[in-house]
């Protein structure tokens, strides 16, 4: 995990940051138990107000996936150029007892991805701003694989 003097989360409400052991933040309805990600002000299932904020499990399994092979147009914002763009994995991770969250995957080789694969949260540097601030985003990586900076 890149953690320079200046870093911020891509969105302050998505995950705990700065944090040596970050976790995604979700909502859990106090009335019906329904989980949501990212945070919501009202339960999207039953409408109850003020769901509690919970740290979502850091580990789960790959539920669905694809590889994004072309560089998205705006509003995509990374430090990449069309020349340096590298395909990235995207999928849904099933977090036991909570929900399935959409996430980037650190792995973009389809031969190394399969449904049911054990995955864990890995916060990474998504882009570096002109003043050197690292903008951190969340991803999931196959368990047992070293995260690349």
């Amino acid at each position: 995990v890149g953690q320079s003097d200046k870093s911020r989360a891509i969105d302050a409400q998505l995950f705990t940051w700065p944090d040596p052991n970050p976790a995604l933040l979700g909502s859990r309805c106090k009335t019906c138990g329904f989980h949501a990600f990212p945070l919501v002000a009202h339960c999207t299932l039953c409408g109850a107000v003020d769901p509690e904020i919970v740290q979502l499990p850091r580990r789960g399994t790959l539920w669905a996936w694809t590889i994004q092979r072309f560089m998205p147009k705006e509003p995509y914002r990374s430090s990449e150029t069309p020349e340096t763009f590298r395909p990235y994995g995207v999928g849904y991770i099933e977090l036991p007892g909570a929900l399935r969250v959409e996430s980037r995957l650190t792995e973009a080789n389809p031969a190394k991805l399969h449904i049911g694969l054990e995955m864990e949260l890995a916060v990474y540097v998504h882009r570096v701003e002109a003043d050197g601030t690292e903008v951190m985003n969340y991803a999931f990586k196959p368990v047992g694989v070293e995260s690349r900076k």
Partner: protein
């Protein structure tokens, strides 16, 4: 009381640099009016929509400023279906007897680049690289293939059929057949979907003249009746486009909800349908939508495509005009393009691509971001 479709018209889909989107809408409207033997001044109301080509009621500048109550409808891929639904209610309420439904669009090349704020999502969603509908469809079919044993051969067969059917449709954009191997081996875009398994944003227009069932025969001897028109949005926790999360367990999606509502409204079931137009923004979508709309069990598509069941001469022809794959997707016009095709088929006017056996009942289905679906059931 059912509503009757008594006139249909279309501007060819594809790229038409000589016409604006609005002009393509006007072209389609004029054809639909003349198809019903009517004029714009005869219309008591109009509903229409366009995503990228301005307000549909600007058509007054092209067709005439008659003071007609013209309501703009913008409902993503369900824009056409929602316009027809509104028109049906207008007529069924007794407020009007006859009116126009129209949709048109002209999109830039390349994938749509919607902004997250239009969908109630934070900027991070776009910045991080999730704001692409293609990703959803690819991840969904990837999972579907894993769960139900559907293979990439079946995806290629869907695309191959689309371009072949497009070749029989003078209004289609992509009219050159492409072989199975070429489709499978074309550039991988979002695994497992290759370039030729995707439709592209495009241009075009489509229009319908609709009226009260009991006056339909004044305008045509081949009226087609709207037995059901239903539209649904997503439920909490369902697996839908631009979904940041999905609940554990299995929540029916917008297509399944709209389909169920339409069958109930028409008092019909999937076995009563002789021809279907199903949203095929990519090859996997047609496969999954076959089951979600009740036409087969999950996984049966593999054998159905191999057996040619969804061909023009098969037991359930699907996307006889080439679908989105061969026509491209001008969002405002795309759902009405499906209805235009079903009307031609039920009238027996579909030319080289006419389904044999005098089909009686047709079905249309669209699905789009952020989990919205419209279904119609049409009968002659």
């Amino acid at each position: 009381m059912r509503v009757a479709i008594v006139g249909v018209g279309m501007h060819p889909f594809g790229r038409s640099p000589e016409r604006t989107g609005l002009q393509q809408g006007a072209y389609a409207a004029r054809l639909a009016l003349s198809n019903a033997g009517l004029q714009w001044m005869d219309m008591q109301f109009a509903y229409g929509g366009s995503y990228s080509s301005g307000n549909a009621d600007s058509l007054g500048n092209e067709l005439g400023l008659t003071g007609v109550p013209f309501t703009n409808i913008l409902n993503a891929c369900a824009t056409g279906g929602s316009s027809l639904l509104a028109a049906c209610k207008e007529i069924q309420s007794g407020a009007a007897d006859i009116g126009l439904v129209v949709g048109f669009d002209k999109h830039d090349r390349g994938a749509f680049n919607a902004h997250p704020s239009e969908y109630g999502l934070g900027d991070w969603y776009g910045e991080a690289g999730f704001m692409l509908t293609t990703q959803f469809f690819a991840a969904k079919i990837q999972k579907y293939m894993h769960d139900y044993g559907v293979t990439s051969d079946t995806l290629a067969r869907v695309a191959e059929k689309a371009y072949r059917n497009g070749g029989l449709n003078p209004n289609a954009w992509r009219r050159t057949p492409i072989g199975l191997e070429e489709i499978k081996n074309s550039l991988m875009v979002n695994d497992p979907l290759t370039k030729y398994m995707f439709c592209s944003p495009a241009e075009g227009g489509a229009a319908l003249v609709v009226c009260r069932e009991d006056i339909a025969r004044r305008y045509t001897d081949k009226p087609v009746f709207v037995s059901a028109a239903a539209m649904r949005t997503r439920l909490a926790g369902a697996f839908e486009v631009y979904g940041t999360s999905v609940t554990l367990g299995n929540v029916p999606n917008a297509s399944e909800q709209a389909s169920r509502a339409a069958y109930e409204m028409a008092g019909l079931g999937p076995k009563d349908i002789s021809i279907a137009a199903l949203q095929d923004t990519e090859a996997g979508a047609e496969v999954m939508h076959m089951a979600e709309n009740g036409f087969c069990e999950h996984g049966e598509q593999e054998a159905m495509l191999r057996n040619g069941d969804t061909e023009i001469g098969g037991r359930l022809p699907v996307n006889t005009d080439g679908g989105c794959l061969a026509n491209g997707e001008p969002i405002g016009a795309s759902g009405l393009r499906q209805i235009h095709e079903i009307v031609l088929q039920l009238r027996g006017e579909a030319g080289q691509r006419q389904v044999p056996g005098n089909p009686r009942t047709g079905y249309t289905h669209v699905y789009g971001a952020p989990g919205i679906s419209a279904v119609t059931i049409l009968q002659r």
